[in-house]
Symmetry: C2
Subunit: 365 residues, 2 copies
C-alpha cells in the first residue's frame, strides 16, 4: 500500500447544500466587520444555502446595510450573552446558556447547520465543540489545527493549544486528522506528516515524540518522522504534530515575531526621506507579504474531531479574514472531511489497538 | 528585600587580564572568517591579553594574513581532529581526544584560558563544558541561553536545547543564571523573569511550569510569572525560562520564520521594476533589519553553569558575528558572571532546599 493512499480517494459526492452558523459577537472589531466578511463570502459562494448570524439582534441590525443583506440565505438568531475573551471557557459556557457561541453550536448539534465559525474565545469554542456538538466516534480528543503560511503554500500545526498534556495515541490521531485536513481542504496531494522534535534523527526528542513516531509509522500516513523548528517554513512538511503546550507556545511565538518584524521594518523605512520614497514605490511588496504573514489577516484555525465543522477565526480578523474563514469552512463541509475523519480514525484505532495488544497493553495509549 | 536586588551589586573589581580560547574549526565558512572575526575583536578590545586559535595549524596559517596577525596576543594551538556537526557529541568528544573543541575546553579547565568560543556542534560544546570544564558548584544542569533580538533590546531564552527533560528545580536554577546573564552581560537593570507557558494567568500551563512558578516566586528574582509566546518580542520580559525541548523548538521555529520572511520579502521586491527601484532606495532599512534579526548575523548562545565562560556562535557566523560572540564573551568574563552565579545559586539552593523540607521532601527538585 502506498503510504497515505487510504486518504486519497475523496468521497465521491461533494456536499452542495451548506448551512453555516457564524457567531458574530467574538471579534475585536465588533460584529460589523464579521457581517461584512460574511457578505463577501455569500457573494462568492452560491453553494451556501443558509448563513445564521448568531448574536445580539440590535447590534446585528445596526451593522447591516439599511435594507439588510437582500439575501434570502441570511437568518439572524438573537442571543443575549457573550463568552468574554478572559472568561474560563467551560464555566462560562455552562453559565451563559444564551451565549452566541453556545447557540451557534446548538444549531450544529440540532442539525440546522453543518458548521460553526467564531472569532471568540478559543477555549469557549473548543468547549462548545466538546460539550454541545460532541466528538466524532473514535476520536479521543478534539484539537486545534492552525494553518501557517510559507513561501509557496502552507502547513498545518496541531494541536495548537487545546490539550496541554497528551499521550502518543492522541498525537497519532492528530496526525490522521491533520493529514485529512491538509488533503481535503488545503489540497495537498499526499501530505507529509512529521512530529515536531528537537532534531530530525530517529530517537531525538522526548518520550512522547519517540512513542508517537513509533505509532505513526504503523499508520497509513505519508509519515516522514521527526521534523524540527528549522523545517517549518521550508516546504519539508505539510502536517506538524505536537502536544498542545508546545503547539501553543510555538504558534504564539511565531505570531509575535511576525508582528515584531513588520513593526521593526516599518520603523527602519521611516528613518530617512530616501527610505520613505523607496517604501512608497515598493508598497505592493509589503502589502502582499503582510497579507500572507500577518496573523490578523491569514490567521485561523479549524478545530478538528467534532461532529460538525468548527472554525476559529483570529479575534482581530477583518472583512477579508472572515470571508477567508468562511471559505475554508465551506471547503471542509463540501469535502465532507468529518466523514473521512470518522472512517480513517476507525482504521487507525484498529491498528493502534492491535499494537497495544502486541505490546501487552502497556504502552502509552 | 526588593525583588532581584541581591543580583544588583556587581562584584566590585572587573577582571582585566582576559584570555579566550577560540575553536576555529567548527563554522560553516571555514576558519578564515573565524580568524577575521577574532582579528576585529582584538582590535576593539585592548583588555584581551591572549587569544588561542585552536585548530589545524596548516588551515590556520593559510587563513592568516601573510605576516600573521602582528599581534603578540595570538597563539595557535595545533589540533588534528574536529567534532563534526552530525556526530554524537559525547561519543565524539570521548573518541576525538585531539579535537579542537576538546583542546579548547582543556585550556579553560587548566586555567590557561578564562573562556571558550566555538561555532561547532552545540552538543559537542555542551559536552566539553560538562566533562572537560565541569559545572559550577551547586549548579545541577548546565544550559543553553539564547539571546534573541527585539525592537529596542533583546531577551534571553533558556534552556534552548541542552536538557530535554527538566524538573522545576532545574528551571528555577536557569531562571537565576539567566537573570544574572541579562544583568551582567546585557545590562538589564532589574531583569524581568518569566516562565514560558500557554497563558499569563496563574495556574495556566503544565505541571512543570506551575511548580517552577511556585519555586521562582520564592527566589529573589524580579519574577513576573507566566509569559506566553505573544509576549516574547514585546518588551514584556527579559529572561524566558523553559525546558530544553520547548526552548529548542521555539528557537528553531523562530529562526525558520525570520529566514522565510526575508526570502519572501526579497521575492516580492523583485516582482516589478518599480518595486526593485523602491527596494534599492530603501536598501539600508533591509540591511539594518537583517543585521538585527538574521540568526546568522546576531545568533549566538552562552552556555551557562560551567567553570569558565562558554559561548556558542552560530555555525554560519561570519566576521561580524564572530567578533560579536567574542565581545559578549569578554563582557561575561569581565563582569565575572560565574562568581555571581556561584554565589546566587548557593543562595537559591538554600531557599529551594528549605522549601523541599517544608513540603516533606516530596516536590520535584
Amino acid at each position: 500500500m502506498v503510504p497515505g493512499c487510504y486518504l486519497k480517494p475523496r468521497l465521491k459526492s461533494q456536499k452542495s447544500d451548506m448551512r453555516i452558523a457564524v457567531d458574530v459577537m467574538g471579534g475585536d472589531h465588533g460584529c460589523g466587520v464579521v457581517i461584512a466578511g460574511v457578505k463577501r463570502a455569500l457573494e462568492e459562494n452560491k453553494d451556501l444555502s443558509a448563513i445564521y448570524l448568531v448574536g445580539n439582534k440590535d447590534e446585528i441590525h445596526a451593522a447591516l446595510p439599511p435594507r439588510g443583506f437582500r439575501d434570502h440565505r441570511v437568518r439572524v438568531i438573537h442571543t443575549t450573552e457573550v463568552v468574554g475573551m478572559c472568561e474560563k471557557p467551560v464555566v462560562a459556557l455552562r453559565k451563559k446558556t444564551d451565549s452566541s457561541i453556545a447557540r451557534a453550536a446548538e444549531l450544529v448539534s440540532e442539525g440546522k447547520a453543518d458548521a460553526l465559525v467564531s472569532l471568540g474565545n478559543t477555549g469557549g469554542i473548543f468547549a462548545a465543540g466538546t460539550f454541545k456538538i460532541g466528538r466524532i466516534a473514535g476520536v479521543d480528543r478534539g484539537c486545534i489545527a492552525t494553518v501557517m503560511p510559507r513561501q509557496e503554500s502552507e502547513f498545518v500545526l496541531l494541536d495548537a493549544g487545546a490539550n496541554v498534556e497528551c499521550k502518543p495515541m492522541h498525537l497519532a490521531q492528530f496526525a490522521v486528522m491533520g493529514s485529512i485536513y491538509s488533503h481535503e481542504v488545503l489540497g495537498h496531494e499526499n501530505p507529509r506528516v512529521g512530529v515536531l522534535s528537537i532534531g530530525t534523527e530517529e530517537g531525538k526528542g522526548n518520550e512522547l515524540t519517540r512513542e508517537t513516531c513509533r505509532l505513526c509509522k504503523k499508520l497509513n500516513l505519508n509519515f516522514i518522522g521527526n521534523v524540527e523548528g528549522h523545517d517549518l517554513f521550508k516546504d519539508h512538511v505539510d502536517v506538524v504534530v505536537c502536544d498542545g503546550f508546545v503547539g501553543n507556545v510555538v504558534l504564539k511565538s511565531l505570531e509575535s515575531l511576525a508582528v515584531a518584524m513588520f513593526s521593526m521594518l516599518k520603523r527602519e523605512l521611516m528613518h530617512s526621506a530616501q527610505r520613505q520614497l523607496g517604501a512608497y514605490l515598493a508598497k505592493g511588496a509589503f502589502q502582499s507579504l503582510r497579507r500572507r504573514m500577518d496573523p490578523e489577516i491569514y490567521g485561523g484555525a479549524p478545530l478538528l474531531g467534532f461532529n460538525g465543522v468548527v472554525f476559529k477565526a483570529h479575534a482581530a480578523a477583518r472583512e477579508r479574514a472572515v470571508a477567508s474563514a468562511v471559505r475554508m469552512t465551506i471547503n471542509a463541509v463540501k469535502n465532507q472531511i468529518n466523514q473521512t475523519i470518522a472512517r480513517d480514525i476507525a482504521e487507525a484505532n484498529r491498528i493502534l489497538n492491535l499494537d497495544k495488544h502486541e505490546n501487552g497493553g502497556t504502552p502509552n495509549a
